[in-house]
Point group: C2
Chain length 144, copies 2
DNA sequence: CCGTATCCGATTTGATACTG
DNA sequence: CAGTATCAAATCGGATACGG
């Protein structure tokens, strides 16, 4: 298990750089980044739009479990932040196409890294959760 | 930054079929990863603990805005998932030290990438938000 | 087809007070 | 110092119905 960061294949090919300088001060915008994408559906939409642009109902079918309300809200929020673009074709019946902006694509990169982490360590997390049910193993160090 | 969408690196490199939502399958553990760390404070705690271990009140002062309740909840959740370790020194008065587990350190890698993204694009996002107040500029394409 | 509006329950968060 | 308990508010998210 100690082979945690032996190789990071995708985006982070370098060794954990001194990113996030002065954590206390600089982490606030980072927290904002998480909250705008940390809701139930945002990251899913970004990832799906990462492959190609989709129409509204196309997204609705792809996600399969999202309500119209939340899909619209999510898209509007991503649009407000400049991550997703919206193009309305004045046909009849109307058709609306959503796609990632360049900014959205740049987000896709660290997003994929985090998604990758979740997939690779899914088992370890569930093992830890199972291990912690019923027996809290808070390590107590001896007084010297 | 135009090298972003040349290829979606890891899990998302395959095409999304219209009928079978493979994105849902691939993104569900990823979605879990986001929800685990996507709450208001988790990633902040992980990043701060990434530099060194901290005591409870040390964290409380570093974050400055978190309530005791949320700090405790966040730490317990991270502990349950095996991302954070907790060591109790039986001194008087008591002192509790929190630190990142190896699994937590591995999470720190993609987390830093996302935090980095948030810091680098903070200005662009706020510009987009400001641009969208009052004037919705949905792009309408001409009918052919 | 692409939404918006309303109602409603579930979850999250904060403020405050209290304890070993 | 390091938490826990309780209450109230805000937000999230889904179902349904309706409109352009």
């Amino acid at each position: 298990m100690s082979a945690a960061h032996t190789d990071v294949p995708s985006v982070l090919s370098h060794e954990l750089p001194p990113s996030v300088p002065a954590a206390e001060l600089a982490a606030c915008p980072a927290s904002d980044a998480f909250r705008r994408v940390g809701d139930k559906w945002s990251m899913l939409v970004v990832i799906i739009l990462g492959s190609r642009s989709h129409r509204y109902n196309e997204l609705h079918r792809s996600i399969e479990g999202i309500s119209q309300r939340m899909l619209t809200r999510t898209l509007r929020a991503l649009e407000t932040d400049g991550l997703v673009g919206r193009r309305v074709h004045p046909t009849v019946p109307p058709s609306v196409e959503y796609s990632l902006t360049p900014l959205g694509h740049s987000l896709l990169v660290p997003l994929s890294a985090l998604a990758d982490w979740g997939i690779r360590h899914e088992g370890e997390i569930q093992a830890a959760r199972h291990r912690s049910v019923g027996s809290e193993a808070a390590q107590v160090v001896e007084a010297s």
